[in-house]
Symmetry: C2
Subunit: 397 residues, 2 copies
């Protein structure tokens, strides 16, 4: 007797976690279109448009701006394996899980790694980076996370970019949770290489990782003495598929690229400035709401909070899993638990892309209050929603 499998019919979910987040039906519909071959000139036109739209989102003129065929961590690995070879030295800034991951990857490339750390929930102090340069020579690159998904910190980059330049080092930036949700100026800020993911503020399903490499990064790539560790992520070959030559490297994930193009088109139609304002406003309203409910944000300094990923401290005595389970079962709402050091200590609320809306903020505040009360805790839902509404009413939006 053969086992019977049911038809795929996902239950209702409202994704308000660290990603994946809500995806527009426009994007899902694009992903379900019939396939072109990966060398079909019509598909290559779509690939070109995707690169153009990615340059818009990254605010860059970099020719080498393309989606890698893997999720965000594949983009992280792409940047590290292409830029580092055994014997190189790298400064890696660590103040959360994704900084740790960068450090791990740099080590696997055979690089000497100098860590610059900050407590979780705080930004990396540029002076510490300056110090690391003073104490070490021949640093090839500085790697830093712009949007630390494990803590909700938004890292200012301009001062660290200046320090990297003074020391003739490349600046590598993780923008997985910032691209398309908060300002990220690749060219203006002097970022040499950057990667992101599709399932965060771009509001596309996970599966691709946009990367962008500037001239200095390409020079470093071209001046390597050894082959890139990874064949799959070797940009010296991949650039010939995405460039004029159109040389086959691996089979591009056609439907994922259809979806990314559509998601990027939605970013383009909304306009970056408008989109960033929307993300900031919804985050402000949510934060006002949770604070009015007596909860505290993980990131103390308002200036350093991401609008995309809102980390809320779990109050003493409140059971993490019970609250999340209640939200999932009663509302179909997913929020994220804490990662690494913050496991059981923080909730991560993603208000990114399609998930960043007034409707979702109001609903989540209500649902969160309900979940608290159901666990026997006090929660002033009225105050929370009033505080959020006040934020909206102060704007004309």
């Amino acid at each position: 007797m053969k086992k019977e499998y049911k038809q795929l019919a996902p239950d209702y979910r409202l994704l308000l976690g660290p990603g994946p987040v809500e995806v527009s039906p426009r994007v899902l519909n694009a992903m379900s279109k019939p396939l072109y071959g990966h060398l079909d000139h019509k598909f290559l036109d779509i690939a070109n448009e995707t690169m153009e739209l990615l340059r818009y989102a990254f605010q860059t003129e970099n020719r080498m701006t393309l989606p890698m065929s893997g999720t965000g961590s594949a983009g992280m690995e792409t940047v590290m394996v292409n830029l580092l070879e055994p014997g190189d030295s790298a400064i890696v800034c660590v103040s959360g899980v994704f900084g740790q991951r960068l450090r791990d990857m740099a080590g696997r490339c055979g690089a000497k790694v100098i860590s610059v750390e900050a407590p979780w929930g705080e930004i990396i102090d540029p002076e510490k980076v300056r110090e690391a340069f003073k104490n070490n020579s021949n640093i090839k690159l500085v790697a830093i996370v712009h949007a630390e998904t494990s803590t909700g910190v938004k890292q200012p980059l301009e001062e660290i970019s200046r320090i990297a330049k003074e020391n003739d080092a490349l600046l590598v930036v993780d923008a997985v949770t910032s691209l398309g949700g908060t300002d990220l100026k690749i060219d203006e800020w002097g970022i040499d290489a950057c990667y992101s993911g599709t399932q965060k503020a771009l509001s596309c399903p996970p599966g691709l990782s946009p990367v962008t490499f500037g001239k200095k990064a390409i020079e470093a790539l071209n001046n390597r003495k050894t082959k890139v560790n990874s064949w799959y992520l070797d940009l010296s070959m991949i650039q010939n598929y995405w460039g004029q030559e159109r040389t086959y490297h691996h089979t591009a994930p056609i439907n994922m690229i259809y979806g990314l193009r559509e998601a990027l088109l939605m970013v383009y139609e909304e306009g970056l400035e408008e989109r960033f304002k929307r993300h900031q406003l919804n985050s402000d309203a949510f934060v006002a709401g949770v604070e009015a409910m007596g909860l505290k944000m993980v990131v103390k300094n308002k200036e350093h909070r991401l609008p995309t990923l809102n980390a809320v401290s779990i109050p003493e005595g409140v059971e993490d899993a019970a609250v999340r389970k209640y939200l999932l079962e009663k509302y179909g709402i997913e929020i994220g638990g804490g990662l690494g050091d913050f496991k059981g200590k923080a909730w991560r609320v993603g208000l990114m892309g399609e998930s960043s809306s007034r409707n979702n903020v109001i609903l989540l505040l209500g649902a969160l209050g309900d979940a608290f009360m159901a666990q026997g805790h006090r929660a002033d839902v009225g105050a929370a929603i009033t505080a959020a509404l006040n934020v909206y009413q102060k704007t004309s939006r």
Copy 2:
């Protein structure tokens, strides 16, 4: 003025090349379903079912049977980076582009690589593998391509498996173009590690790479002295997401997994035996047709021809590009050009998954004859189609 982008509306295509091939609307529809989070228990059920169905397709009981989050070449790299570390020795069999790629990857892992070669279009002679073992010691693994997509050769594996076992080496197999299209018995043939792609005989869009690791391969992984070169493809961590622990590693590509599950379900419903018969029959009919038209198959020995990937020699004087352009423009049909040494010398006709049908064989023979005549060449279309029909009529299918 903002540039205007058109709505995504792909032109008609019939994909009869080396992959991607035709994808069922069932699979495209599954890919467009709303997302679960990657740690949602409902998604993890879907992931479990996907693994079960993959075990069915691979004919294995291997617990570690899962889709890697990248295209087929990421699967190739997964196997090599997890099993090889600097200083290891590996025998790599090379008789086409994908054998060359395996060799390149083994080298990037820091392994000493011993090549065993065969002319393109022929199988690797097991005696040469035996000889390579005699002339070298401490061989950790033998890597070989089951279905060489660049030549259309189907490599027998049982004798080489015995030789590997006699020498206490692992057998690593590339089944990108065979899984789901022609017999592949992981357990019965003693294959220790194997990888495939989704866009070939599984008839799913490209984007994932199913892999399977047996006990001996997992032992080798667990006995490594060094970290795996690649963080993204490190199975020692990835197995904890796909296993009982469900530890977050990277965000799984949700919608691609929806699609793969549906494609595998179609394999399961048809049944492997039926599916292999269908592929063989359509290939036989196609080959009878092209031979009746006076064309020659690249692989001379019938026993060594893949039913999934049918490589046809381009006759003297016929212009490769003109014929393929004609097929694309007049019929929307894509067939593949030659790769590597076979560039301009062979066409690669994929009759895999949804593309493997009587309708497509008859249509393609007619279209190919038309393309020949349009270029001023003779082509006996009548003989070709009659020969193909004879093959079908000899069966009750």
